[in-house]
């Protein structure tokens, strides 16, 4: 048995050999550049964040409890988002239901049943007048919220985004008119809501993209995405170019969230760690982990000042981290299954978690 097939025509053999040599050469060059980049990044690493943060006053004891429990989903809650009014939320679940709640009163205000199951992404429009959602249907649809409770929301549904694989995350930009999506097809895309037109697509991830977050700046035009290729990429929305890339996680990145100033972002991964990356230093600057934490992080978010990082984990708990000192401040129990989504409210007064135990909880 020959070890490798030899082509019949000798010229083809030489060409094939040449092509393989070129590929090998390119691969080596790429690897060399990667190491060089790591070297350059490491040169400016003169101190650790937690060392400089020793002078910062420690945080006191925290009393964080579940203040509201939202029951109504008949299956795993997969995603949620806050309305800008700081009290309403939208949530989506495995059975295709999308519910809008006034979390303060725990009343359900709207409910829609999507034609597909596994609605993995949902988002509230900045105006508060619409919600977007999608999942296994590979689409992102926008539902305008009617004041008339009797009106059938599903009738006014507008299909906006079309991917070739599941929709993992969606977010409105600072307007009701554009939506940013990420998908299992390895791309992110920016869409015009009114026409459904694709405005920009973002290619660069080598596998499913699982999460995204828009930079908080009013003047910024960037966003960060995380994927199954263990990479977190920062993108320019105008050109579609990847402007920075970070690859230090050891497994899928399930969640990315900007630090409130926009100069850094945090990520949560299946490798059971959360990490902080600074855009100016162009590297990972902190890692939040403990030997006793062995289950993956599904979702992360910062408190308003950026001092605290909340992480929802697959072992049903929430770990609260001191971002500057790198230590864990608190561990919260309550959910009876995996925490799948976590977001801090727009004014930072509370955070909401959604879980596979079918409920959502508001913590403060």
């Amino acid at each position: 048995m020959l070890a490798s097939a030899s082509p019949l025509i000798p010229e083809m053999a030489t060409q094939e050999v040449q092509l393989n040599e070129t590929l090998a050469h390119l691969k080596t060059e790429s690897e060399t550049l990667k190491s060089k980049l790591e070297e350059e990044r490491a040169k400016l690493h003169d101190v650790e964040l937690h060392q400089v943060a020793e002078k910062v006053e420690g945080l006191g004891q925290f009393v964080m409890k579940t203040r509201r429990t939202l029951k109504g989903h008949g299956n795993k809650v997969l995603c949620m988002d806050w309305c800008k009014d700081k009290r309403r939320i939208v949530s989506s679940s495995q059975d295709g239901k999308v519910i809008v709640w006034d979390a303060f009163t725990t009343n359900k205000e709207h409910a829609v049943t999507m034609p597909c199951t596994w609605v993995m992404a949902c988002a509230y429009a900045p105006s508060g007048c619409a919600v977007a959602c999608g999942g296994l249907d590979n689409k992102c649809s926008v539902y305008p919220l009617s004041l008339d409770k009797n009106e059938n929301l599903a009738a006014k549904k507008k299909s906006v985004a079309m991917h070739t694989n599941y929709l993992s995350a969606c977010s409105f930009t600072n307007s009701d008119m554009q939506i940013l999506t990420s998908s299992g097809d390895g791309t992110c895309a920016l869409w015009d809501v009114e026409s459904g037109q694709l405005l920009q697509s973002f290619h660069g991830h080598a596998a499913d993209v699982l999460c995204l977050d828009l930079a908080p700046s009013e003047t910024g035009n960037t966003f960060v995405s995380g994927g199954c290729d263990k990479k977190a990429n920062v993108w320019d929305m105008r050109s579609g170019q990847c402007i920075q890339s970070f690859e230090t996680h050891e497994s899928d990145i399930n969640s990315v969230r900007y630090y409130p100033s926009g100069d850094a972002f945090a990520s949560g991964s299946d490798d059971a760690t959360c990490r902080l990356y600074d855009l100016r230093a162009d590297r990972e600057v902190a890692i939040y982990s403990k030997e006793s934490i062995i289950f993956g992080v599904s979702s992360v978010d910062f408190s308003l000042s950026g001092r605290l990082l909340f992480g929802g984990y697959n072992d049903y708990t929430i770990n609260v981290w001191d971002v500057l000192k790198g230590t864990r401040v608190s561990i919260l129990f309550g959910h009876e299954n995996r925490v799948s989504t976590l977001r801090v409210s727009p004014d930072g007064t509370a955070f909401c978690t959604g879980s596979w135990d079918h409920t959502l909880r508001i913590w403060a």
């Binding site: 390119l26 003169d46 930072g348 403060a364």
Partner: protein
């Protein structure tokens, strides 16, 4: 797999828990350890401070069947003298078990053939057996033969060994065919073995979620070339020293900590803890609090983010006859938020209003930005004014904004709130005298 590292370490002869044979009434119980021993070991080995955390961790490991109580079907951990046994690596979840009903049927059938009280079927197991017999009907003979063969092999084993293996096999089935609704913890999945959106070790079938394996490294040469190009641009990037970055992060966080409700309790109260929405009503009111007004002084961005701050800044600029800068900036922000269809027209309108020859609100742009912008307008899009907007923003930041912060309009507001607070305090004091009850 991290969980299996822990399970291996905990059974280590020298560093692990004391696994031993316990003498019981008329019999010996081989290879057991108490719940307390397990909890204590977890606390020590994983440096856990809170016993509740160790209990939680232990229960999760138990739920996956890595160890089990020898006298119960419920897979959880108790911090007492209850005896537990470790599962054989053969049965570990990482071997990707997906046992079929035939396997389960053979197992239950085998149990009925053995004349031991400890192997008597529980009610739910008897029910399952009956159901399986009905389902398999004429094929039951095959099942029976397999069960018989297994019993023959088992008989050859040493008594102690059989006790251990029987219990491990039972624990395996407790995981894959659990007693319905009695398991306190449903199974979490950790890392690799299962895909993100789905499969826990119960019989849920998740259709068509793509398996999350990164794509094979694309050997296409264009892919490598693209990467090389990207890496080269990255190498040229300017980076900031870590010490500077750390200072910056600390400064930002410390500045905002008084506004962070998790760190500093909001006034009058956090609506979620007190059930009183006054905090929100105050924030929404046209009269911003002193704390809010102070925030406008942090950066131009903060001032513009707050509608009240934006309004005040605009008023100030009007008084200086330079409001066209802010109005231009706001118009371009609006442009970027429009539906695609309307972008072209709006871009033209902005040119006419702010940049054209003899425009009513003419802004001052350097010639370079002006040239670039008029080029962009040949094919108007939502980013046509990026350069111009950037330039105007920098101008406002370094010039008008600094004057705004020193201006009477802003300072009065910053100070005025203090005066109001004091008088409110005095009024409250007076009122408290009025309401003292008379005995």
């Amino acid at each position: 797999m991290k969980i299996e590292d822990i399970v291996t370490r905990i059974q280590d002869e020298t560093e692990g828990v004391p696994i031993r044979t316990v003498k019981s009434f008329m019999t010996k119980i081989p290879s057991v350890v108490t719940g307390t021993d397990i909890v204590q070991w977890l606390i020590k080995d994983l440096s856990i401070e809170d016993p509740a955390e160790a209990m939680h961790m232990g229960s999760l490991i138990a739920a996956q069947g890595y160890f089990f109580p020898i006298s119960d079907h419920v897979l959880s951990l108790k911090d007492d003298g209850t005896f537990y046994r470790f599962q054989a690596p053969y049965f570990w979840p990482s071997n990707c078990w997906e046992p079929e009903n035939t396997d389960y049927a053979i197992y239950l059938c085998k149990r009925t053939m053995q004349n031991k009280t400890r192997l008597e079927l529980a009610d739910y197991e008897a029910e399952n057996l009956a159901r399986l017999q009905r389902a398999f009907s004429r094929k039951w003979e095959f099942i029976y033969m397999q069960a018989e063969a297994q019993v023959k092999i088992d008989r050859k084993r040493d008594k102690s060994e059989r006790k251990i293996l029987d219990s491990q096999e039972r624990a395996f089935w407790d995981v894959h065919r659990p007693v319905v609704s009695r398991c306190l913890y449903t199974l979490p999945t950790s890392s690799d073995s299962f895909n993100h959106y789905g499969c826990s070790i119960t019989y849920e079938t998740i259709s068509c979620c793509s398996v999350r394996k990164p794509a094979e490294t694309n050997s296409d040469s264009s892919c490598f070339l693209f990467q090389i190009l990207f890496l080269n641009t990255q190498l040229d990037r300017h980076r900031m020293k870590m010490s500077k970055v750390a200072e910056s992060l600390i400064t930002y966080t410390e500045q905002y900590m008084e506004y962070d409700p998790f760190v500093t309790a909001p006034e009058p109260s956090n609506p979620w803890t007190s059930d009183d929405p006054s905090f929100w009503d105050l924030e929404a009111s046209k009269e911003p609090s002193q704390q809010r007004v102070k925030k406008w002084g942090f950066s131009l961005e903060e001032a513009l983010k707050d509608p009240a701050g934006q309004e005040l800044f605009l008023k100030f600029l009007e008084s200086e006859f330079s409001s066209e800068n802010l109005r231009f900036w706001l118009a371009v922000q609006d442009l970027k938020r429009m539906p695609q269809q309307e972008v072209g027209q709006r871009a033209q309108d902005i040119w006419a209003e702010f940049l054209a020859e003899g425009a009513p609100s003419s802004i001052n742009l350097d010639s370079h930005s002006y040239e670039r912008t008029s080029q962009n307008l040949k094919d108007p899009g939502r980013y046509s004014y990026e350069d111009a907007q950037d330039h105007i923003y920098k101008l406002m930041k370094s010039d008008s904004y600094t004057r705004f912060l020193r201006s009477n309009v802003y300072q009065d507001l910053l100070m005025a709130r203090k005066k109001v607070c004091v008088s409110m305090f005095v009024i409250n004091q007076r009122l408290s005298f009025v309401y003292i009850p008379i005995f």
